[in-house]
Amino acid sequence: MTAVAVPAQEEKTRRARIVASPGAWLVWGSVTFFFVMLAGVIGSVVVSSFGRRWFDTWLPESWTTQWYGQAWHEFTLLDVLIVTIEVSLLVVGISVLVGVPASYVLARRSFPGRRVLYLLFLLPILMPPITYGIPLATVLYKYGLAGHMTGVVLANLVPSIPFVILTMTPFIEQVDPAIERAARMCGARTWQVFLRILAPLLVPGILAASILVLVRTVGMFELTFLTAGPDSQTLVVALYYTMSAAGIRAQQSVDAMAVIYTSMMLVLLVIALRFVNPTQLVARVKEDPS
């Protein structure tokens, strides 16, 4: 498919267009600027995390991996990483499974009380966990659900499900309802329509929502801390601790923790983007058939 040589002339027109447009320059210019800034931000942390001492100089005096080793041992990071990944995948999976059907109904149907429901689903996103975190943890503890992974997952579902609902609604609106009707005419039940027709068409949306939920879950300190038990701490609790707990801590070890945190997320992100394309398939076929 991709091996077809693009005729030289086509190439030329394209290049000509890029050269011609000042808008393009502006856009790519700002993108480059953003990347430079980003590289500076990330780079300085990474460099610092490998530096033994770094005072008033361009680069640290000497290099070391001791900060990583320390962080790894201090927080038994392997376990924490495993828990983090388990929790976040569970949260992402469940909130997509529960959220997408709900957003489907909200996007497609009009029924009495739709607005009220929409508001209801908005609230958990709007309300800071301060309002509901402690009572939520109480409820979960009462039923023996907190203090281990179940509680962490359940608590994180509270903002995640509405988040999926909110992000998915416009995606679902974009899908032509006639396609669903056609599937029904082929005898597909609702769940089959979801599985076989909607899900593939919504892949970019689900991907985006999942990534965002993942990021939020991995970074959700409050709810996780309140409901976690000693062996269901996630990375963010450890990170948050290194960052803001009392006591003395080398800057570099915070940086190392942050780098570990980011690396984990990055791996997940790259895996996700490796297998799924955030461009909708429909557009991909029509976009530039060559």
Partner: protein, 290 residues
């Protein structure tokens, strides 16, 4: 029986609405009770009657102003994130070499987390960070520019974490729009700008609205970076700091809940305004014959 079902169906109530049930249950069980508890708490301050906590908040200019401080940070940040994502995502339609890599790179900052962002900003933009060093050795400035521990530090961190978020969503929403429509507009003599703002933008509006709301909400509840790279006692004393202070330093949970409720209400007002505008726009299938 069937007659009843018929009548209900006419009003839009049928079995498909059952798809809402899991999400609704989650929110009702896990959120509504805890939230009602927190809400109730906000009306039971230790002194000052039912609205005492709210009165306390609004009577104190130092507290009340946090709303404005937060809006001043979050609205421009959300706006910039969305506004910058649109042209970049728009440029990223179509196929070109390295598109996937570029996408990944633009989305990467989402994995940074607040801690790394904060550390990175402090390291990189700090008085002896690489940026100031570069500018000073290039002779552009004599004194280091202050870019951290003030409004700008927080603003940058909101951009770094918010932009990829907005970009990912908008890129996905954008790809759900049938490219044929733009081609049709081109044959009608529309150049790229009218094509964009008359065709693509309105079709993207629902997605933009949602993206804006979500980035705004994320920015509005900014906490760690407001403390870490901001000036938490002064220019970036955002409302969540006030809530945090009440809850975790003064252990005044009624006041904390009240502040959090105020936060939710302010966010709700903005979100409602945006979603209200969104309903003025077309929502529905964005492609296909028929």
């Amino acid at each position: 029986m069937t007659a009843l079902r018929h009548r209900l169906a006419e009003r839009g109530i049928d079995r498909q609405l059952l798809l809402l049930v899991p999400a609704l249950l989650c929110v009702l069980i896990l959120f509504i009770y805890p939230f009602a508890y927190g809400l109730g708490l906000s009306f039971q301050p230790s002194q000052g009657g039912v609205f005492g906590a709210y009165r306390e908040f609004f009577a104190d200019a130092y507290q009340r102003d946090t709303i404005w401080t937060t809006l001043k940070l979050s609205l421009p940040a959300a706006f910039l994130n969305v506004a910058a994502s649109v042209p970049i995502a728009y440029r990223m339609r179509g196929r070109f070499r390295g598109k996937r890599l570029l996408t990944v790179l633009l989305v990467v900052p989402i994995t940074l987390g607040t801690v790394l962002t904060a550390e990175g900003l402090l390291n990189f933009l700090g008085p002896t960070g690489w940026l100031n060093r570069t500018l000073m050795s290039a002779g552009v400035i004599d004194e280091p520019v202050r870019l951290t521990n003030n409004y700008w530090g927080v603003f940058f961190s909101l951009v770094i974490t918010g932009f990829p978020f907005a970009f990912l969503l908008i890129l996905s929403y954008l790809s759900g729009i049938d490219p044929t429509l733009e081609r049709a507009a081109a044959t009608l003599g529309a150049g790229w700008w009218p094509r964009f703002h008359r065709i693509t933008l309105p079709l993207l509006a629902p997605g933009l609205a949602t993206t804006f709301c979500l980035t705004f909400v994320l920015a509005f509840s900014v906490f760690p970076s407001a403390v870490l790279v901001g000036d938490p006692a002064g220019t970036t004393r955002v409302i969540s700091i006030a809530a945090y202070h009440a809850a975790y330093e003064a252990y005044d949970y009624p006041l904390a809940s009240a502040i959090a409720v105020v936060m939710g209400v302010v966010e709700l007002a903005v979100v409602a305004a945006v979603l209200g505008m969104r309903s003025l726009f077309y929502t529905g299938s964005t492609g296909g014959k028929g």
